[in-house]
């Protein structure tokens, strides 16, 4: 059985989407000078509320909306403590992650009445959308068609993010704030407002990422289901030097690691080793590329 085939690429595209979306969210906060380790928690909250939304309304798109709203709220909480209270971004980020884990598990008991995981086959997730012309192209067709709207959306967002960051005045302000908040402030840019916007954008994107995890392909919520993807997304941001196109590449790499690990499970390699693959891949990338995290400039404001 071949390991590399079109189906693997298709599952790569599907699996890399949460990482890409979260990484794009992380990119905005990184550009604003905030070292954001809370992607994990924001995504997890998004995952939970996506399922809860479908459960309550029966409509996956409303679930998506709820996921985005919840993740953004959590993101703003993070933003408040880091930007306004000027707490250490790492500690606050960890707190958000711990809070998200505890809260979603707590809420799962309250809402669904179960522990561990919730799965109801009758719940309708995001439908796979078949692209009319593309699906008929060999190889590329299998790879790029029949995905949820979030997958296509992710590619679109990459382009939008690029335009926004490098060709729009606000993107200029964002980059200025991250690089030298004192200078930006002296020019009349409202530094805190820019940072809050970046945090909100991050929340929205992480909400989308979480929803892709929990309500596309299968509709389910498992305790702690993000399983470190938020940190892998963070590494994608670092590896991609907070640039949308490079982040796309980095996320593809990590998505491939996830897809390969799924595929290898069928071959007789123990599941634990196979499950390690994405984490090992991430470590290898970090070691080989010797990248530095973006400078944290929140503390440097007066």
């Amino acid at each position: 059985m071949t390991i590399f085939d079109a189906a693997l690429l298709a599952s790569t595209v599907r699996l890399f989407t949460p990482i890409l979306l979260a990484a794009l969210g992380g990119m905005f906060t990184a550009r604003a000078g905030i070292f954001n380790v809370a992607l994990e928690g924001m995504m997890l909250v998004g995952s939970f509320f996506a399922v809860a939304g479908v459960f309550w309304t029966g409509n996956p798109y409303l679930g998506l909306l709820l996921a985005v709203a919840a993740a953004t709220l959590v993101a703003l909480l993070f933003g408040y403590f880091v930007i306004e209270i000027k707490g250490d971004a790492v500690i606050i980020g960890l707190a958000i992650n711990i809070f998200a884990l505890g809260f979603t598990t707590y809420a799962m008991r309250l809402v669904f009445g179960v522990t561990g995981g919730y799965y109801d086959p009758s719940l309708e997730g995001l439908p796979d959308i078949s692209l009319p012309i593309i699906r008929d192209i060999p190889v590329l067709g299998t790879m790029f068609s029949d995905h949820s709207i979030l997958v296509y959306g992710a590619f679109v967002i990459v382009v939008l993010a690029y335009l926004f960051l490098f060709h729009h005045p606000f993107g200029l302000h964002l980059r200025a704030v991250g690089e030298n908040p004192e200078a930006a402030g002296s020019l009349g840019i409202r530094v805190k407002r820019v940072q809050y916007v970046s945090v909100a954008l991050c929340g929205i994107l992480c909400g989308l990422a979480g929803a892709q995890l929990s309500i596309s392909l299968v509709t389910q919520f498992v305790e702690g289901m993000t399983a470190g993807r938020g940190f892998i997304a963070l590494v994608a941001v670092m590896f991609g030097q907070a640039h949308p196109i490079k982040i796309l590449g980095a996320s593809l790499l990590f998505g491939l690691a996830y897809a390969a690990s799924l595929r290898l499970q069928g071959i007789g390699i123990p599941t634990q080793f196979v499950a390690m693959l994405p984490y090992v891949a991430t470590l290898v990338v970090l070691i080989v590329t010797r990248i530095r995290p973006q400078r944290q400039s929140v503390k440097e404001q007066s």
């Binding site: 209270i85 960890l94 707590y106 008991r109 470190g228 634990q272 390690m276």
Partner: protein, 364 residues
């Protein structure tokens, strides 16, 4: 020019040493309020929740013992985190280090069971420490050599270590006798198991670690050259390097020590509670993360870590009891713990505010 409008009698002198403790108290109360809100959202009475919480933690002799027993791995992990913090390092890999330490000690105890107990016990403990240190060292090395941030590498190693250990316990090291549902290793020899010190409970001799380790660590930090070097590295690595301290060496040493302590926590759990390595038992308990939070709350003060560790252990034990009696999910404890960390961020402001209100004004 006094800013206090109070009458002279009120502007008493409260020793400023008391302020950090008051701050911790206020922060904890605020965090508990967050928990109360979460309970109210669930439609239950917060007052009832608190009552059950306290009863579950310290209401009966057995409950107190349960709290104390649970505090052992939490405090030791908290001390592990503290060693890291003192050197300016965030060791988020405590869970993985604890797990490999536990497995290593379980395996060593069985592999060398021919040895007399008086030798086997320290060797077992050392094996646990060594395993934890060995897991932590690569992360330290990658940071000094390749700029790989510890925060991320230790976290990734967590996942990897837990998975690896799970594999070992599921396959080559599995105890196939007895037909247990959960994968586990063979039990360790009776001779080296920690004895129970309170009959009818699981409170074991490991509690003495809480009496020995904190003063030892405090002494090392305050009174030895190594402690000075570690502290200065933590306060300002550029300053330390300028003064002739090898920051690289300090990072490696601190991480090794931190990992060793986390490994010790695992070994102590095996020796005192489980008497074998049980897949998932250490991660499910969340001891390492609670220990980490205890260290943050204690501001990396070894003696204070015992206090915060006991408090958080009580919180968790009490929450479990609360859940049994009221059906309120025990994850409330996690929410309160997260709340505590948020409050810690506000600590500076709270401290300043307290100083402003309580201390009589001092001219600069």
């Amino acid at each position: 020019m006094s800013m206090s409008a109070d009458s002279p009698a009120k502007t008493q002198r409260i020793p400023s040493a008391l302020i950090p403790i008051l701050v911790v108290l206020i922060l904890t109360i605020m965090a508990l309020l967050i928990g109360a809100v979460a309970v109210a959202i669930a439609g239950k009475s917060p007052l009832l929740a608190i009552e059950e919480l306290i009863r579950g933690a310290v209401g009966t002799r057995n409950n107190i013992a349960a709290t104390l027993t649970r505090s052992i791995p939490i405090v030791i992990c908290g001390l592990a985190a503290t060693v890291g913090f003192k050197a300016g390092l965030f060791n988020l890999g405590l869970e993985g280090q604890m797990v490999v330490g536990a497995l290593a000690s379980a395996v060593t105890a069985n592999a060398l069971q021919g040895l007399p107990a008086i030798v086997l016990l320290p060797v077992t403990i050392l094996a646990g420490c060594a395993a934890g240190a060995l897991l932590a060292l690569p992360a330290a090395w990658w940071q000094t050599r390749f700029n790989v941030p510890l925060i991320i590498s230790t976290l990734l190693l967590n996942y990897i270590a837990v998975l690896f250990v799970s594999y070992l316990v599921n396959n080559p090291l599995r105890d196939l006798s007895g037909g247990a549902a959960v994968p586990q290793t063979v039990m360790i020899p009776e001779a080296i198991r920690f004895g129970v010190i309170l009959s009818g409970t699981r409170l074991h001799a490991g509690i003495f670690a809480l009496l020995i380790l904190p003063p030892l660590l405090a002494w090392i930090f305050r009174r030895t050259r190594l402690g000075y070097q570690l502290r200065m590295t933590g306060l300002n690595p550029d300053f330390a390097a300028y003064g002739g301290i090898s920051v690289q060496r300090m990072t490696l040493l601190a991480m090794a020590a931190s990992g060793a302590l986390a490994g010790l926590a695992g070994a102590v759990q095996v020796l005192g509670v489980d008497f074998r390595f049980i897949d998932n038992s250490l991660t499910a308990g969340g001891y390492a993360w609670t220990g980490f939070i205890a260290a943050i709350l204690a501001q990396a003060n070894p003696a204070l870590v015992v206090v915060t560790g006991l408090f958080l252990a009580g919180l968790e034990v009490g929450a479990a009891g609360m859940q049994r009696n009221t059906q309120i999910p025990l994850q409330i404890a996690d929410i309160v713990q997260a709340g505590i960390i948020f409050m810690i961020a506000v600590r500076q402001r709270v401290g300043q505010w307290l100083r402003h209100i309580l201390l009589s004004e001092q001219r600069s």
